[in-house]
Symmetry: C2
Subunit: 259 residues, 2 copies
């Protein structure tokens, strides 16, 4: 699935959450995280004590063009320092822990974050290191936990995919795209009168050729044709095509006319 | 973010959509797709004309334990063959095309798929090859398009992440987890009478030590304390701790008592 826009300016639009990677191991994953963040309109990346040091050129190579996020990444020694200027912190946590804390889904978390950022509060999201996850002390600065609903038989997510889902839900929390629409381009969904016009044409020809000769069944057959042609959202362009098909079928093969 | 369950049986629960990878290039990506599918409870994987042939052991290595999906993957030469037993086909398509077709978000698509599978219809989702995407002929068998709302400045998704979002939305479309809850473990959210009991203890000691000596302000101060202690969902265990704190603060340092 492509659609990359190489040189786009990815500067944050408004107040967006900070993604904090705690003790990330592979710089390649940090790059993949930056890419996933950019998909969802996130920008601010903080790294707490990255295992292999920073910067690492492999991160830029795996970011697929989300270089700006890496260029602006901030490095901290501890979680406490990385969250010190934030008002609220969310911690992703795939497994239950014996701590009393509000637990949100990714979707619920994204909605909470939107509320907070709209109040001009600074928000951060903690992601633990690959495999081991966050440690008990890391959670002490968190206001909320986030756990993604996933198939409990297989909860293994890599770091970039964990960030991808959160970034996606952040974006969706303010997204206005209709869940379903018809992509019509230069054409438009046909009005009832446009459909009536076509159906008149069709019925006239069906009467002429004898398809509707059974007068008792004729009204029901016409109603069923209406039902069929309305089941899809037919466009004016498609109706013109259908008009043409009916006309050409009636006219018969070009060769036949010429004889 | 970890949580992998190695030996789990990932057999499909009920009627689940088929993921169809059209001309995938890297076997490593096919493995990562299987992993993402398993996260969202998907199982059926079909490959149309994989570039490097099939099977490829690197796919199993990158599946992080979702081997069963790869073991059962089916191979086809063409999209037409891969969809021939399906009732409805969704095609992911990041860019607009000049084709008239219903366009869904990932979330809208997942809801449609749930409706269809609940009607015992067989559903498939087409994902195009890395970079190039699906071709015009591939779309002719599709009933719907799916396009993910993402930051338009940066729409680049790798194949596994595209599948991840769709699998996640498929799972979420039937997910019942509350968006927000308090994880309380052995304890429970305090009732008003448990809070009343603590507040009575606190106010008694605050009266005794003189903190509430301003009789005019006293009722308002007590109300504000109520408001504070109710802002969080306090648990019975935390109230016991707070009772203990008040008692110990009143008693003063252990050394002082002993003198």
């Amino acid at each position: 699935m492509t659609g990359r826009d190489g040189g786009a300016d990815l500067a944050p639009v408004g107040n967006t959450p900070v993604v904090i990677l705690v003790r990330p191991q592979l710089a390649e994953n940090v790059g993949a995280v930056a890419r996933a963040m950019a998909n969802g309109g996130l920008f601010h990346l903080r790294l707490v004590s990255p295992r292999d040091g920073w910067p690492q050129s492999i991160a830029w190579r795996s970011a697929s063009g989300a270089d700006q996020l890496l260029d602006h990444a901030e490095i901290f020694d501890t979680v406490d320092e990385a969250v010190s200027d934030l008002h609220h912190v969310f911690a992703t946590c795939p497994r239950p822990r014996h701590i009393i804390k509000p637990l949100l889904t990714a979707r619920g978390g994204a909605l909470e974050m939107r509320c907070m950022t709209n109040r001009s509060l600074k928000v951060g999201i903690l992601f633990g290191p690959e495999r081991t996850g966050l440690e008990n002390h890391d959670f002490t600065r968190a206001d909320y936990w986030i756990r993604y609903p996933l198939d409990p038989r297989f909860m293994s997510l890599n770091l970039a995919q964990a960030v991808m889902i959160m970034a996606y839900e952040w974006w969706m929390a303010s997204e206005q795209t209709p869940q379903k629409q018809l992509q019509t381009h230069a054409t438009h969904v046909a009005t009832k009168s446009e459909l009536e016009n076509f159906m008149g044409h069709l019925v006239k020809e069906l009467d002429y050729c004898g398809f509707l000769r059974n007068q008792q069944k004729r009204p029901g057959m016409i109603r069923n044709l209406w039902h069929f042609f309305q089941r899809a959202e037919v466009t004016d362009q498609e109706l013109r095509t259908l008009h043409g098909i009916v006309s050409e079928l009636v006219r018969g093969p070009v060769g036949k006319q010429e004889t």
